[in-house]
Symmetry: C3
């Protein structure tokens, strides 16, 4: 409860709030560690994906994830801890038949002494061929009540089909403080 | 058409518009009533879900729903009526391998003499272990043109795997009136 | 970077920005052209869909798409070109067991000399039985930085289960210019 003040930033380089994270996705491939895996394919690549590309663009595959987000690039020592953590939970889809390209919709769940408590909702096109790509922060709750903004994604590491790490620079331009 | 006035509320406890509903989800389990069922699993739990938990956290399962929303907790007499109704349509995912936890993305479709006509779009983390959890209202149309806000969810009833009922307290903080 | 000015429109008929497109969806049906197909079913209709309707409402089917958007109703000569294009990428679901009805969540990716560069994020109920239906524009990036608005959909053509074309009238009411 209690009143808040609304703050709007008009400048891409001067958000009203900014946070930088690494997003770690460890895809279960049926043989790797179930303890360490943080995501899994909920659907197979579609028949269209298979028909156009033998080595796989995964068109239509949906992955569900519960991925840790960290302030430095190292994986956290315990991947599934939910106390004092920041986690991204939701889905991504592979959405292009000629290339490896994705679309994201997810929440970031903050349960953190550093960053606070609450959630942000994000959605957008992860155009993998671009060095950086912006997706939208479309809402927030708790300490991020009613926030809006942009998150800039940059691929930081890829290890086969099992692990990727994104830098995620979250910039809020509408804040209730 | 016609001009509207923009109203912003800065106080969690004093939204510019508030509506309280019960959200009823009756999952088709291959044996219950097809007439009464309002949702169905579009994907099975992933191999990761099965590997980590024999009694099921359903990690990666996506459910598609067309769920009635009512102002009192009783189920409506006719579950599929669309005249003078409020319905929630979209998806939820189970998104945690160690626990039963969900993520929602859906629209509320108002076709109601009481609440008006139009839609609200919602998205967020349904952290089932918390007594109440807030998700975001990220947009609206018709009588809810351009609305934003928060919906507070509280589990009100659970009957096995086939029925659950949520209280949904919708609070809008950006209204065009 | 650089400062922008925030503009809000209060009138449905006078958005701060407006763009009209045709949205082309060519569903892969396992036999048509893989070159021309722009979408594919990632899940089958659920058992509930099959149980209630032999001729198909597809309840629970999710389709992933990478659909061209054009300013005139004709299909573009090359369906998969990404240079100087506007494309819609994301998912739709069939979400009603008694009728053919859909729900959308997607991004529009602009890479266009005419419309600019960036993305819009959209989400909402596509109530197919209504002549026109509004969905929400919940965020934007690049030239559409932080935009919000409404997109009005109208079915323009349907050819069996393989092709449909929507008119999409995008109206933004919150613009950063």
């Amino acid at each position: 409860g209690g009143g808040r003040r609304f703050v709007r930033s008009h400048d891409y380089d001067s958000p009203c709030k900014q946070m930088k994270f690494y997003f770690h996705d460890i895809l279960y491939d049926y043989s790797n560690s179930t303890t360490n895996s943080t995501s899994a394919a909920a659907t197979k690549p579609t028949a269209l994906a298979t028909a156009v590309s033998s080595n796989g663009t995964f068109f239509g595959q949906m992955v569900v994830f519960d991925d840790p987000m960290t302030s430095s690039s190292a994986l956290p020592p315990l991947l599934n801890v939910t106390a004092d953590s920041v986690r991204a939970q939701g889905l991504y889809l592979y959405d292009k038949k000629e290339a490896y390209n994705a679309w994201f919709a997810f929440s970031i769940v903050f349960n953190s002494t550093v960053y606070g408590h609450g959630t942000l909702q994000l959605m957008g096109a992860d155009i993998i061929s671009q060095k950086t790509r912006d997706i939208s922060v479309v809402g927030g709750t708790g300490d991020f009540f009613m926030s809006r903004g942009v998150a800039t994604l940059r691929t930081d590491a890829v290890e086969g089909f099992v692990y990727f790490r994104l830098q995620m620079d979250i910039k809020l331009y509408e804040c209730y403080v």
